[in-house]
Amino acid sequence: MEIIAQWAQAFIGVFQRGGEVFTGLVSGIVPTLIVLMTAVNALIALIGPERIDAVGKAAGKEGFAATPLRYLVLPVISCFFLTNPMAYTMGRFLPEKYKPAFYDAAVSFVHPPLGIFPHINPGELFVWAGIANGVQTAAGDAKLASIALGYLLTGLVVIYLRGLVTEYITGTMWKKAA
């Protein structure tokens, strides 16, 4: 009888443990997230997402000089204004050969800004927040903000790099396929 009671206690203990984790998450992150997302949604609606279409059209030009526009500026503003997954619709302004590279760059930017702009991809917030919670516990808010900024800035470099590499690989594979 004792053993069954112990098993029952262990069984419910698993879910109580989960409940503790859930409470921590909901009380910790959700309030800030809701207020921030409200503010950013309002800002985006007031600015008007149609304004970034002009950037999309300019980004399709040939030549290396257009690559920062195509793999840095356009992915960043697409992700900020249209968020995941509508951001990839901005690829429609680009020539076919640049579309995979633009997708690579844009999709790689849906995680790096999450420490500062969680509205970009709240459904996958924990790719950032999982590690961020640990950093906050171990080192405090200032370090957390520093790492959030570091993630975003390295993200800018990475998406530009990914755009260039994927553009090159796409071009090579296209010639082989043709």
Binding site: F15, G18, G19, E20, V21, F22, L25, V26, I29, V30, L33, M37, T38, V40, N41, A42, A45, L46, M86, Y88, T89, M90, G91, E96, K97, K99, P100, Y103, D104, A106, S108, V110, H111, H119, P122, G123, E124, F126, V127, A129, G130, I131, A132, N133, V135, T137, A138, I147, L149, G150, Y151, L153, T154, V158, T166, I169, T170, M173, W174, A177
Partner: protein, 177 residues
Amino acid sequence: MQALNSFLVTIGRGVGKVVGTLYQAGRDAVDQVIKNVIPFMAFISFVIGLILATGVGNLLANALSVLASNIVGLLVLSLIIGLPVLSPLLGPGAVIAQIIGTLLGTLIGDGRLPVNVALPALWAINPQVGCDFIPVGLALGEAEPETVEVGVPAVLFSRLVTGPIAVLLGYAASFVF
């Protein structure tokens, strides 16, 4: 009198528009959080509760802390996650990335991993992002079928290269941030 009237109407309309926008923004924010964020919190709380209460967590945490405690291990992790066969499987909902991220976060919070492993670790769990979504993402960009045919392997192979490079970048940045 007429001028005052139309002035008031303009002000009223303007304020109404701003208030309406803010209200809708709040609605969208709450909607997103309820539909996406809280369900995932429920799921991950259950998984973490299970892991912590059954001791499986210790096994996983030990394995992860070995990989994550040095730059070579993180590079290995990013290569595994970036493998073209694995990355589309790991991509959906970023579930695996979020679980690994949460486990790494627990290790950092406990002090079992140093804090400056956070930036390279964030990039180590990143190479799979969007790898499952390439055809849909390209279709959203109105791509032709030939573009998708070439684009899918192009992105997958590009990730194998740029995944580890991103980890190295994160490692370099961890000395600054």
